[in-house]
Each structure stands twice: as structure tokens, then as C-alpha cells.
């Protein structure tokens, strides 16, 4: 069997591809897409912390990855069969010290990352209220086929596929579903969490700048899944209060009858805003699956 005589060619090609994809394409695409890479340019504290943790873990991992890359090239180069300078020692098959190093280094790295993760998993628990001197705004979320229903129980309004929130005030989402399982996700603000029938999950988020953030479902839920997007508008307190006032005067009242109409499957629903007439609706949805029908 003829084996290749030109490892140099391979090396250059490998190195070139890596350089292009890691060192050139990534920064270029970040420059090109800028703020539309929402996870790297977060709009809220939760997303910011999550991004920073991602960076820290990535940096720690690179301490192991970079040597692996370098060694892969170096060893293959020095010890390639055509290089007369490479020592050949077929009996070098064990070395206790060396093995301590590469059991030990990953162990230590993993220890550090694990400690960080432990700390942040408790700190970033989606159910945990965010530290703030402002009272959280509660929004109840119901995933339906295939749209999002939002209920502001205190403000007495309900919306479909749209929410407006005041910036710098924690939002307390209470989430359930009257549909297959979905995942409630606003990438700019951080953390997603599943929306499941019969279950209530909770999520605390905060926006620290104004803007329209895209929200979506991250878990396949049937035909209209792709259209389950909604807009989260973070605005100043004044704009938010004004919006609430307008919404409270909405023509349509939201009652159980209206809810039952909304439950019927439909895709790509337009935004709708209602006055909330039945404040127990969320509870009703939660209890709907509790007992056999």
C-alpha cells in the first residue's frame, strides 16, 4: 500500500481550514451581524450573566483544547514516517508522570468549571426572584396551539403574541401550556423554560435597555410551531403605563368563552390585545388537566 509522501501539504490544508473558520470567519461574522447575534449582545442582566459564564467556561476549556491542537500538529509533523530526525521508540508505551498530568489537569479544570457551575446554577435558577428594589411585574404565559397567550393579572389585560414590559423592572413569568410542550424563550433577555400542560414553571427576567426583542418557542409542538414567535417590547415606565392604559380600554374583553375560542389550533396569529374580565383564567388552565375529564 502506497502511503502519502507529503504530510506537509495536509498540514497546511488542515491549518488553513482551521484558521479560516476559527480565526477569520468567526470575528468577521460577528462584525457583520453585530447586534443580531442577540446572545453576544444581551438586552438584560440574566442573558448578560449567562453570556459571561459561557465566555469564562470557554476560556478555561481553551487551556486544554489549544495544547491538543498544537500537539496534534507537532507530533504528526516530527514523528511522521518520512522525517529521519524523529526518534522512534516503540517501547515508550507508558509513563506514569505523564498520565498523572492528563488525568490531573482535566480533573482540576473540571473542578473549577464545576464549582463555577454550581454557584451559577443556584444564582441563575429561573425560579429565583431577581434582586431589585422594584416589585416584579407578573405575567402569566399560556402556550397554545400555536400562539402565546399573556395575562397581566394585576393590570387586568391579556395579549396574544405580544408583551410590553418596563425596563429595569424584574418580570415574573408564570408559565403553563394548554397544548403540547413548548419552551418559552426570549434570547435577548436570557433563560428559557418549558411550558407544559398541568405544570407551572416560573421565570424571572429583566430588560436593561429599550427595544423590541424576539421571543419564540424552542420546543417542537406541532404544525404551527415555527410561527410561535412574539415580540417583547421593553420601554420606559411612562410608555409602558400608557400602553397599559390603552390596553385596559380595549374593545374585546377576555373571558373563558373567548379563551375557548382562542384554544383552537391556528398558525401565525396576529397580535391581539384584550381587557381581562376573568382573572382566574390561568388557574383554570392549570387545573384543566388535573382531573380526569
Amino acid at each position: 500500500m502506497k502511503m502519502s509522501k507529503h504530510p506537509l501539504f495536509y498540514f497546511l490544508l488542515f491549518a488553513l481550514l482551521i484558521i479560516i473558520f476559527v480565526l477569520i470567519m468567526q470575528p468577521l461574522s460577528i462584525l457583520h451581524f453585530g447586534k443580531s447575534i442577540v446572545m453576544l449582545f444581551p438586552g438584560g442582566e440574566v442573558a448578560l450573566k449567562e453570556r459571561n459564564l459561557l465566555f469564562i467556561i470557554q476560556a478555561l476549556m481553551l487551556i486544554v483544547i489549544v495544547p491538543v491542537y498544537v500537539l496534534t500538529f507537532i507530533f504528526s509533523w516530527i514523528y511522521n514516517a518520512n522525517n529521519p530526525k524523529g526518534n522512534y521508540d516503540p517501547d515508550l508505551v507508558d509513563n506514569v508522570t505523564a498520565e498523572y498530568i492528563w488525568w490531573g489537569v482535566p480533573l482540576v479544570m473540571t473542578g473549577i468549571i464545576a464549582a463555577l457551575t454550581w454557584h451559577y446554577t443556584y444564582e441563575m435558577d429561573p425560579f429565583k426572584p431577581l434582586p431589585s428594589d422594584k416589585k416584579p411585574l407578573t405575567i402569566q404565559v399560556v402556550a397554545l396551539q400555536w400562539k402565546w397567550l399573556f395575562i397581566y393579572p394585576e393590570e387586568k389585560i391579556a395579549t396574544v403574541n405580544f408583551i410590553q414590559i418596563p425596563k429595569d423592572r424584574p418580570i415574573h413569568f408564570e408559565i403553563t401550556a394548554d397544548a403540547p410542550m413548548n419552551s418559552f424563550w426570549i434570547p435577548s433577555l436570557g433563560s428559557q423554560i418549558y411550558a407544559m400542560p398541568k405544570m407551572k414553571t416560573e421565570l424571572f427576567l429583566i430588560a436593561d435597555q429599550e427595544g423590541d426583542f424576539r421571543g419564540c418557542s424552542a420546543n417542537i409542538s406541532g404544525e404551527g410551531f415555527s410561527g410561535m414567535t412574539f415580540t417583547t417590547r421593553a420601554s420606559t415606565d411612562e410608555a409602558y403605563n400608557k400602553w397599559i392604559e390603552t390596553a385596559q380600554k380595549a374593545k374585546n374583553g377576555f373571558t373563558l368563552a373567548e379563551y375557548n375560542k382562542l384554544v383552537a389550533p391556528s398558525s401565525y396569529n396576529p397580535v391581539a390585545i384584550y381587557r381581562l374580565e376573568d382573572p382566574t383564567l390561568f388557574h383554570y388552565v392549570l387545573m384543566k388537566y388535573m382531573e380526569p375529564s
Partner: protein, 649 residues
């Protein structure tokens, strides 16, 4: 009479009609070809009824090729749809069809490509590397294969008759429950996976016992090749994980067929239970397909470095630790389901721990090259690409294992990029390395090296172009399984990913062409019994190996026994030929597989009389087979001598 099967089941859109027509034409062409060559008898005698693991292994690979073609076509359709379906345009697939396509893609690639590759390679390599003439349960092994094939063909049938599942490759309830998916799609998924899964369990039992009981004299635990260790760990995982899958699917079946409420949200059921159960199988499954790839590289790297594997004992422990840990990490697939931070932290840390043995394996492979003589044959190229891809995918895996990061990137395309890095950069590249490496052993000739190299570069480049952009898309907030999106800036990135798939397609085409090209030019590519200067027992016997593998059962006293012989070490071998008992062929496995296919089809469509009939048929076949007496034939010592002398190469 026909249950729920009506005329409507045969009506599809154009793309699917094309696929069905292609399939039918392909089948007709194949039948015509076999008839023209007059090979039906040969096919029946030598292949369909065989219990020879080498032939079963090759049949696995053939089924994998067919299933891969289908899974790849699914991938191409997804990428094409996502290139165009933005804003006001909705592409050429309906949402429902798109969802069928990605469900079929995942199911096909995991259950019928990756699993087929795993068991195919184990069939080919395990007996040869442990110096055995056969496997422990030849009939069980054949049955496992035919059940696997039956499951695979049932997914192909779903292309032509009715619809496939729309609920993704793991069919989470309540979406997969009766309420939201009353049609036949989920049932197709359940039965194809169920039938193939039972096959996998049987094959797992066979290979575990084979490795435990049939090693040649002197091959103690710590003298087994690392591929055998990886196969051992894989089979332990199979045996303990697949029954969970079988039970979970059975519960889902009860929900769907008898209106029970294990996983429905109403009536006291709990969908979260399903998600836990399916991942209690699903995570070991990840390592079931990953560990054999580790095993392959542990054979390829030493051979092409002319040096024994560095740190053998470490490698063994790394495999064992991964095996144990893989059972206690399943919850990391759903950190976002709302478990308490304590629970999430536990599973996060167990997940991260897997990085340690995996890192050790990487370093041991690298240091196998240290002071070696590294040859850049194509299996080594795959290894090179594996190291580069796998470390990136591993790094993103660690990112995903931290719950706070996972809250952000879960179910986004970042996750897709991560696990395709593992599945393509790890499993598939490993398989390609193994395929190129062991191909001459089973055919007696090489694959064309030049074409291998071209195919390799297409795959490597295509992989980078297809999947690196997905990390970026994940950061941009793109979720998986979108048949349509509203953010215009994603489109260019999706197009880039599609270009990558095109490059991979070119690579795969070159491989397929290379296979036929090499067969055509086999006389120029003859390999002999030991083309790579091999180290393990399989290279000591003729290529292709005779039916009984080893005319004289080898005795070994160290790792890499053939290498020891080459260096003038190793124990005295027996010299005398002896009579060899080999199991006789049996059509029972094929019949049971075929009837299982009928059973799966019948029960999917609620054609109960046919299902019951088929079930009785399966039991009957089993009883007939198990009451048979004459299951072994005899090859006399003279005949062995004649065969061995003819095969001097």
C-alpha cells in the same frame, strides 16, 4: 379488513412521490439484476440464511448505506427548505412535511445508520480480534440483524404508505399522544424503533457473551484490544439501556392504542416521566454509538504510528468510567424543564466529569504518535479531522452542560451544531476510518487511496461549512426544527450551511464511486493478509478470512499479539489442523424479520387480524427453530488444510 388503511395513505406531494418512485424503480432494477445474473440461489444460500458474523456485518453495512441515503436526502431537503423559507416565502415543503422530514432524519441516522454501523463493525471485527471462530449465539445475531433491517424498512414503507411521525426523533408526549397526533405517523415511529430496538438488545446479549466467553487462550481482560474493550462497554450499555427504550415505547403504545394515561397530561398521566425515561435510554445511546468510534481510533492510531497504544490501562479505565457515568447524566437533556438547582447541579457535574476520561483518551492517542512513525494513510486523516472536530464539539458540550448556559442555548441550533460535531466528527469519521482500515481484510483489496483522500477533504470541509455557521445561528436565537423563520439576517447563514451539505454530498458521492471503482480495479489493489503492518490477530489470517476465521486457534500472552510475533516474541502456537464445528445456515432469522415487518405494518394501521397472524407466525418460527436438533456442521481437518493452502496470500 384494512384497519385504518385507506386510499388517502397513498396520496403524497411531488417530492415524496419522486422518492417513492425512485425506491420502487431501484427495487425493480435490483430484482432484475439479480435475476439476470441468476444469483437468487446464491443470495439465499450465502447471505440471507447466513449466520456467519462476517457476512451479517457486511449486510449491516449494506442496510446502513440504504438508510444513510434516505437520511441524507432528508437533510438536504431540510437545508433547502431553510434556505428559502424566510419572511413572506414559505418554501416548498409544508410545515407538516418538514416535520416528518426532520423526524425521519433523526430516527434514520441514529437507529438505522449509527446503530447499524456499530453492530456491523462489531460483527466484522469482534470475533477476529478475540481469535474466535464464531460468535456465542449465531442465530440470535442473525435475528438481531433481521429485526434491525425490518425496523429500517418499516420507515421506508412509511414514505410510500401514509405519513411518518412529526414529533421529532424522540417523540415527546403530549405531542406524540393521541390527542395531538391521532394519525399513523407516531405509530410508524414506535414500531420501527421498537422492532429495531429488540434486535439491538439481542445483538447486545450475543456480543457481550461472545467477548466474555470466546476469547482465545491467553487473552485475559487486560490483553484485549481496546476495540474489544469499547465493544464490551458498548454492549453493557446496550443491555441495560435498550430495555428502558422498549418499556417506554410499550407504555406509549398503551397510551395510543388502549387509551391509557401514562404520559398524557390529563387523567393523571405525566409527560415529564416519558422525557426522563427516554433519556435514561437516550444518553447511554449516545455512548453506544460513540465508544466504538473511540475503539476504532485506538486501533488505527497505533497501527499507523507503528507503536503500541500509549497508556493502555488508562484507556481501559477511561472507557469503563465513561460507561458508568453515562447512566447518570440523562437529565442534562432537559435542564430547562424546571428541576431544582440542586438536581440540575448534580447532573451538570456528572456530565462534566465525562470530559476527564475523554480528555485522557485524546492525550493518549496523541502520545501514541510521540516517538512513533506516523503514516498519513486515509484512516489517519480521519483521525486528524476527528481530533480537531471532536475537541470543538466537546468544548461546546461542556458549555451545554452548565445549566445557566444551557438555559440560553438549549434547543437552539447551537445544540444541533454540537451533537452533529459528535455524530459526524466523532462517530461517522471514526466509522470511515475503521471502514477504510478494515475494508481490505474482508475483501482482499484496498479502497482507492486517492479517491479516499478526495472524499475526506470534501467531508471535512463540508462539515465545517455546514455546521460551524449553526453555532452562530444558535447565538442569533435560531431554534431547531424551523420550517420557516421571520429574521431576514439568518438567511445568508442558512445558505452557507446548505453549501456545506452540498460539499458533503460531493464527498459521499466520491466515496460511493470509490467503492465501485475499487471493486472494478480490485486486481490492482490487492492487499494480502496484512497490508498496514497490523498489530492484532485479524491481520494474521487470510483476506478475506475463511468461514472459520482461524484454522488454528491462536494463543496470546500480551497486547498486540501479531506485533509481538513480528518482533520475535509471543508464545508457541499449535501446529495441527483440527475438525471445526460451525453452525449451519438457517432462514429462521430472515423469516422472523420479514414477519416482524408485516407485524409492524399491520399494527401501525390497526389491521388486527394480520397483526395477530404475524405475531403467531413469529412465535411459530421461533418454536420451529428452537426445537431443531441439527444446528452444527463439520469442516474436516483435511478440508481446512486445503482451504488454508489455497489462501496463501
Amino acid at each position: 379488513m384494512f384497519g385504518r388503511l385507506t386510499k388517502d395513505a397513498f396520496i403524497h406531494d411531488m417530492a415524496q412521490n419522486g422518492a417513492v418512485a425512485g425506491m420502487i424503480l431501484g427495487a425493480i432494477a435490483l430484482i432484475a439484476l439479480i435475476s439476470y445474473l441468476g444469483r437468487w440461489k446464491w443470495l439465499w444460500r450465502e447471505w440471507i440464511t447466513t449466520v456467519d458474523p462476517k457476512r451479517i456485518g457486511i449486510m449491516y453495512i449494506v442496510v446502513v448505506l440504504i438508510m444513510f441515503a434516505k437520511g441524507f436526502a432528508d437533510a438536504v431537503m431540510m437545508r433547502m427548505q431553510q434556505c428559502v423559507s424566510v419572511g413572506d416565502s414559505f418554501g416548498f415543503l409544508t410545515a407538516e412535511h418538514f416535520q416528518e422530514v426532520f423526524s425521519a432524519h433523526g430516527t434514520t441516522m441514529i437507529f438505522f445508520v449509527a446503530m447499524g454501523v456499530v453492530f456491523g463493525l462489531m460483527n466484522l471485527i469482534v470475533p477476529l480480534q478475540i481469535g474466535a471462530r464464531d460468535v456465542a449465539y449465531p442465530f440470535l445475531n442473525a435475528l438481531g440483524f433481521w429485526l434491525f433491517a425490518a425496523g429500517g424498512f418499516l420507515t421506508l414503507v412509511s414514505l410510500a404508505v401514509g405519513k411518518f411521525s412529526i414529533a421529532g426523533w424522540l417523540a415527546y408526549p403530549p405531542l406524540s399522544g393521541l390527542e395531538y397526533c391521532p394519525g399513523e405517523g407516531i405509530d410508524y415511529w414506535i414500531w420501527s424503533v421498537q422492532i429495531a430496538g429488540v434486535g439491538s438488545t439481542l445483538s447486545g446479549i450475543n456480543f457481550l457473551v461472545t467477548i466474555l466467553k470466546m476469547r482465545c487462550p491467553g487473552m485475559t481482560w487486560m490483553k484485549m484490544p481496546i476495540f474489544i474493550w469499547s465493544a464490551l462497554c458498548t454492549n453493557i450499555l446496550v443491555i441495560f439501556a435498550f430495555p428502558i427504550l422498549t418499556a417506554t415505547l410499550a407504555l406509549l403504545t398503551l397510551d395510543r392504542y388502549l387509551g391509557m394515561h401514562f404520559f398524557t397530561a390529563g387523567g393523571g398521566g405525566n409527560p415529564m416521566m416519558y422525557i426522563n425515561l427516554i433519556w435514561a435510554w437516550g444518553h447511554p445511546e449516545v455512548y453506544i454509538i460513540m465508544l466504538p468510534a473511540f475503539g476504532i481510533f485506538s486501533e488505527v492510531v497505533p497501527t499507523f504510528s507503528e507503536k503500541r497504544l500509549f497508556g493502555y490501562v488508562s484507556m481501559v479505565w477511561a472507557l469503563v468510567i465513561i460507561t458508568v457515568l453515562s447512566y447518570i447524566v440523562w437529565l442534562h437533556h432537559f435542564f430547562t424543564m424546571g428541576a431544582s438547582p440542586g438536581v440540575n447541579t448534580f447532573f451538570a457535574i456528572t456530565t462534566m466529569l465525562i470530559a476527564i476520561p475523554t480528555g485522557v483518551k485524546l492525550f493518549n492517542w496523541l502520545f501514541t504518535k510521540f516517538r512513533g512513525r506516523v503514516h498519513f494513510a486515509s484512516p489517519m486523516l480521519w483521525f486528524f479531522a476527528f481530533v480537531l472536530n471532536f475537541s470543538v464539539a466537546g468544548m461546546t458540550g461542556i458549555l451545554l452542560s452548565a445549566p445557566p448556559v444551557d438555559y440560553q442555548v438549549h434547543n437552539s441550533l447551537f445544540l444541533i451544531a454540537h451533537f452533529h460535531g459528535m455524530a459526524i466528527g466523532g462517530v461517522l469519521f471514526g466509522f470511515f476510518a475503521g471502514f477504510t482500515y478494515w475494508f481490505p481484510k474482508f475483501t482482499g483489496f484496498h479502497l482507492d487511496e486517492k479517491l479516499n483522500t478526495y472524499a475526506f477533504w470534501c467531508w471535512f470541509l463540508g462539515f465545517l461549512v455546514a455546521f460551524m455557521p449553526l453555532y452562530m445561528l444558535g447565538f442569533m436565537g435560531a431554534t431547531r426544527r424551523l420550517d420557516h423563520y421571520d429574521v431576514a439576517s439568518w438567511q445568508s447563514v442558512f445558505i452557507s450551511a446548505a453549501v456545506g451539505v452540498l460539499i458533503i454530498f460531493i464527498g459521499a458521492s466520491i466515496q460511493l464511486f470509490g467503492l465501485f471503482w475499487s471493486i472494478k480495479n480490485r486486481d490492482k489493489l490487492r492487499s494480502g493478509r496484512d497490508p498496514w503492518n497490523g498489530r492484532t490477530l485479524e491481520w494474521s489470517i487470510p483476506s478475506p478470512p475463511p468461514e472459520y476465521n482461524f484454522a488454528i486457534v491462536p494463543t496470546v500472552d500480551q497486547i498486540d499479539p501479531l506485533w509481538a510475533t513480528k518482533r520475535g516474541q509471543g508464545p508457541e502456537q499449535k501446529k495441527e489442523y483440527e475438525d471445526i464445528h460451525m453452525p449451519l445456515n438457517t432462514p429462521a432469522g430472515f423469516f422472523i424479520g420479514a414477519i416482524s415487518l408485516i407485524f409492524g405494518f399491520a399494527i401501525t394501521w390497526h389491521i388486527y387480524w394480520l397483526a395477530i397472524l404475524a405475531f403467531v407466525g413469529i412465535i411459530t418460527c421461533l418454536i420451529i427453530r428452537l426445537s431443531g436438533k441439527e444446528v452444527h456442521g463439520n469442516i474436516t481437518a483435511e478440508e481446512v488444510q486445503r482451504i488454508e493452502e489455497a489462501a496463501t496470500t
